[in-house]
Symmetry: C2
Subunit: 305 residues, 2 copies
């Protein structure tokens, strides 16, 4: 991608923040229809080595002549400037590659809107014809889980040991993972950790059993296998139409959420802070107060039309 077009993309991404939920994405000259890119969601706890792994994965894709867009929704990621110097230096030569585009999303008070913002950004990279889009989150909150669940494939990264696998189950990561990567495979107890993880997967049952891979991103080990796994997954899900089904479900979900967000925003545009104050300071029960605001909302809307 030439520097000119790169600047256009950057500018459009910045404008996404100012769009209201009902506004369409900006139109793009020579844009590709959405859906051409393979979207890879990667999450996992702090310190599991996600960023190094993503770095190596992107490099491997470049060797295969695939362009890669990276969206980091992670305040601790080196992509967003939050990591150790060593990481940042290593990232540096990635950012010089014209086939790579990195964008970080700050998680600043976008309550509810973070998922939409991340997926909108991925859509824009898709329109700009990136072949592979990697979205990185730290798997803690629901929004972060939602984001990686909204990709074509969801990868959860652990390091061996620690109570991470149990935490992951609590946070609902087991439900959304297509692949578990145990990074830092040379750490003591890694084999045991993988066995434990596999037995947890086995015990959960269900027809969707995530695979488990071991890597050592620092040494570049297992990354080729990871990329091969991803590409096989992509091909298979295209062929058996599960990709289409997954994307359709995600589309329904996104449209529903977007509609709710438009409506919520409209509610607090129409209902004035004074009206809210009034019912707050009344002795009405909460539910009655809420109902009264809704009635005001509809009569306000009716006045406008």
């Amino acid at each position: 991608m030439d520097p000119q077009r790169r600047r256009t993309l950057s500018r459009l991404l910045s404008r996404l923040d100012d769009l209201s939920p009902g506004e369409p994405l900006p139109s793009v000259e020579k844009g590709r229809p959405i859906g051409g890119a393979f979207r890879i969601g990667i999450t996992g706890p702090l310190g599991a080595g996600k960023s190094t792994l993503i770095n190596e994965t992107a490099r491997n894709y470049r060797k295969r002549d695939k362009s890669v867009g990276i969206i980091a929704v992670d305040p601790t990621s080196p992509f967003t400037g939050g990591a150790l110097l060593g990481d940042r230096v290593r990232m540096h030569d990635l950012t010089l590659d014209e086939g790579i585009f990195i964008r970080s999303l700050a998680t600043r008070g976008m309550s509810g809107g973070l998922t939409a913002a991340a997926i909108d950004a991925a859509d824009l990279l898709d329109v700009f014809a990136f072949d592979r889009i990697i979205i990185e989150t730290v798997g803690v909150g629901q929004a972060e889980v939602d984001i990686v669940g909204a990709c074509d494939v969801t990868v959860v990264v652990f390091e061996p040991g620690s109570g991470d696998s149990i935490q992951a189950m609590k946070a609902g990561l087991m439900e959304i993972a297509d692949l578990f990567v145990v990074n830092k495979k040379d750490m003591w107890g890694a084999e045991r950790f993988v066995m434990d993880l596999e037995s947890v997967i086995e015990m959960r049952g269900g027809n969707r059993k995530p695979d488990v891979l071991m890597t050592s991103a620092n040494r570049g080990e297992g990354v080729v296998e990871l990329v091969e796994w991803l590409e096989r997954y992509f091909e298979r899900s295209k062929q058996d139409k599960s990709l289409d089904r997954r994307r359709e479900e995600q589309r329904i979900d996104r449209i529903r959420r977007a509609a709710q967000m438009i409506l919520r925003r409209r509610l607090w545009q129409v209902v004035s802070p004074e009206s809210l104050d009034k019912v707050v300071n009344s002795n009405m029960p909460v539910r009655n107060a809420a109902q009264q605001l809704i009635e005001q909302f509809f009569s306000g809307e009716a006045d406008e039309t």
Copy 2:
């Protein structure tokens, strides 16, 4: 509370589940206005001994002639039938006490509605004139954090060791805690853990510095001090009006959420599944599709009036 009135309360609590967000709470004969009870939110990770601590706290309140309502929003709580036999046996004599009422809330797919449901249940116990209401959650998801944050005081329970304090900060527990209880104080490393916790609190700064208490609920140690702390907190926050301010903020938040929930429900009542299908299967971008549904919603509403 006599058995008759206890049955009435149980029945009303069950009916809460069937109320739509806009419907008022059922009216209660000889009910007390909401606001008379002191609401204590208790949360913390699995295995910290919360249930035993709550058990002992409730016993102590009974010695002070205070009636206690307990709402357990915790699938692992013995109150909801999820714990070890030993715990359940100990709970048993609590449930025979007429001054105690225990209710468990299943967390079954109440997405978004769990917080509202728990607070509604607390309101009802308040109307039924319980003096102290304890709400127990496991501090993992946002809903659980929201619930204990919606009480008059928020207590976070840890056991010494483990990365719990770090997890707590991530989950936003540091922001909402008024008191940290380090339970199992006889465990190795407890003193050290308290020191670490205190220095984390110190480093965070801000004008709201939670206190730290040590207990051993199993041995009944520190529980008297806990209850005394709670009662002092309650008295002080009544006197300096911070209780009023806190409750008003919570009321604003609840009314806003309830209004949004009413509106969301109405949206999907008015917009038919067929309309949703239609825009999903179009090649409209997500935001445009959502906007179109909203326009349909308003014209549907206009037709009705």
